[in-house]
């Protein structure tokens, strides 16, 4: 049984260095879009992430899995500096987007969050019309020079999110009047509207029924052709279905990372195997 309090012995036994347990990709390797190096996160005195180093590849889906409280959502929030908004939260280490450290003082977090968008567990459309939900971001970022431009952005975003056909005749209706699955796709469209390069998804299907979930998973397959996607999920089956790379977190450490098929059929570490087979005590 592993001690849940003292992290010291665990560091020794399972020093998680992605290089040694990172399995090479069996599919075509895409370029590294984001790279984390020795990232630590503290909430006040409490350390939540311990020296996490991870490469995230472009045009693919990377899944972060692990039990509750393992740090996967904390890590996800580091990728677009959402942790900045949490009082007492401190991040050390380096996270690079296209080779540039996003925590450097030269980087504007607002711009960053347009490039690295986020979709949350509970769909959270603005209390505005469907049109306004999508138009809001591009407008404040100055991405449209005319109403026609803005219209085009809204339509394209809705199309890319697989929602346009369902809402094209009611763009002025409130976004909150849509079903859960539709709202989530609206949120994805909203993220897409500001031309992101990376889309972060924090358990995007947890609040959705199986059919809505399947539609979002299908959407992810399309989106990954053009975007880098990182998804946190509690469902091992979902991670196995949608991702190309999977990273397993436990107690603030990155334990194992590799090709998704390998991680789920023949993981390198027993701890990983215990988690994915439901043997965690």
């Amino acid at each position: 049984m592993e001690a849940k309090v003292a992290a010291q012995p665990v560091i020794q036994m399972q020093a998680p260095v992605p290089k040694s347990v990172e399995t090479p990709a069996t599919e075509e390797q895409h370029a590294i879009k984001m790279a984390a190096r020795d990232v630590c996160v503290f909430y006040g005195e409490k350390q939540a992430l311990f020296d996490v180093s991870l490469n995230i590849r472009d045009r693919s889906v990377t899944a972060l899995i692990g039990p509750s409280g393992c740090g996967k959502s904390t890590f996800l929030r580091c990728l677009n500096r959402m942790n900045d908004t949490i009082e007492g939260c401190r991040v050390t280490g380096k996270i690079e987007l296209d080779g540039v450290n996003i925590y450097s003082s030269r980087v504007d977090p607002v711009q960053l969050r347009a490039r690295v968008g986020m979709v949350f567990q509970k769909p959270n459309p603005f209390p505005k019309s469907i049109y306004e939900n999508i138009a809001y971001g591009p407008r404040i970022h100055g991405l449209a020079s005319s109403k026609a431009d803005l219209d085009e952005i809204v339509v394209n975003s809705l199309k890319k999110a697989g929602l346009f056909e369902e809402v094209k005749d009611r763009l002025n209706e409130s976004g909150t009047g849509l079903s859960g699955g539709q709202q989530q796709r609206l949120c994805i469209a909203r993220a897409i509207s500001v031309n992101p390069e990376v889309i972060l998804m924090d358990e995007p299907c947890s609040a959705l029924d199986p059919i809505a979930t399947a539609r979002i998973e299908s959407l992810m397959e399309e989106l990954k052709q053009n975007y880098c996607i990182v998804i946190v999920t509690h469902s091992m089956q979902q991670a196995a279905r949608v991702s190309q790379r999977t990273a397993f977190f436990h107690m603030g450490f990155l334990v194992e990372e590799g090709d998704t098929t390998d991680v789920f059929t023949n993981p390198k570490l027993e701890r990983t195997q215990d988690y994915i087979t439901g043997r965690f005590g």
Partner: protein
């Protein structure tokens, strides 16, 4: 490998039940093989008949195992080691079912030759080959129960010995048939019996491969030494004297 148990106890129990069914099936297959060799050697029609009956129990177990495997895959979405365990059970049950059929076939041959004069030399050769195959089967089933890949690997390599025996038996039987055509009937049955034993040996190596994969998560990459040359053994035809 599985030092921790599943949180859901019924999952653990189902895997255990699967394991036990394979063990039981294996025991029955060993029995069928052992008895069929004895029946052939001892010209014992009663034993042969009883052995043929036992194959039914083996077939029934295969159907049970297949049903359980499919249900577990649908319900549990097994991953990693669990998935390999469940797939291994399916594959091994198929091999054991074939071994049962082959053993039954040997017993049928025993019934067919019961009235005939049986040359001691040939029968000894057959018996020895049968014992080798039985030994391989026992060993590989132990390897499965123990999850011992090294033991399985040794079985895998040892199949060569059975193949070598089969080659020499094949030649002996040909010679016997050529010496006196009245021997052809008996020798043909014995030849099929020997072939069945050689096939049982091959199935034991299949099981060995499955055990290796179960433990290591990757297949054996070596080339298996294949010693059976009978398919290319020329038959020298001479006019009978």
């Amino acid at each position: 490998m599985d030092t921790h148990e599943h949180i859901v106890r019924s999952y653990e129990e189902e895997l255990s039940a699967l394991n036990n069914k394979i063990a039981k099936m294996g025991g029955l297959a060993e029995q069928v093989l052992g008895q069929s060799i004895d029946a052939l050697e001892g010209r014992d029609p009663d034993l042969a008949a009883a052995t043929i009956q036992q194959d039914e129990a083996i077939d029934a177990l295969e159907a049970e195992i297949e049903e359980q495997v499919i249900a577990m895959i649908a319900r549990r979405q097994p991953m990693a080691y669990d998935l390999r365990q469940i797939m291994a059970a399916l594959r091994i049950s198929t091999d054991l079912e074939r071994i049962g059929d082959l053993g039954k076939n040997i017993a049928k041959r025993a019934l067919a030759v019961v009235g005939e004069q049986q040359p001691k030399q040939l029968m000894l050769g057959l018996k020895h080959m049968g014992e080798l195959a039985l030994g391989q089967l026992k060993e590989v089933l132990d390897a499965y129960i123990e999850r011992d890949a090294d033991r399985a690997l040794r079985v895998w390599y040892t199949d060569e010995d059975i193949d070598a025996m089969y080659n020499s038996l094949f030649r002996e039987l040909l010679t016997y048939m050529m010496e006196d055509p009245r021997n052809i009937g008996l020798c043909t049955h014995l030849l099929f019996g020997a072939k069945n034993i050689e096939r049982i040996g091959d199935h034991a190596t299949n099981i060995a491969e499955t055990v290796y994969f179960l433990v290591h998560g990757r297949p054996i990459t070596d080339q298996r030494p294949k010693g059976d040359t009978t398919s290319s053994t020329p038959v020298a035809l001479r006019s009978a004297g």
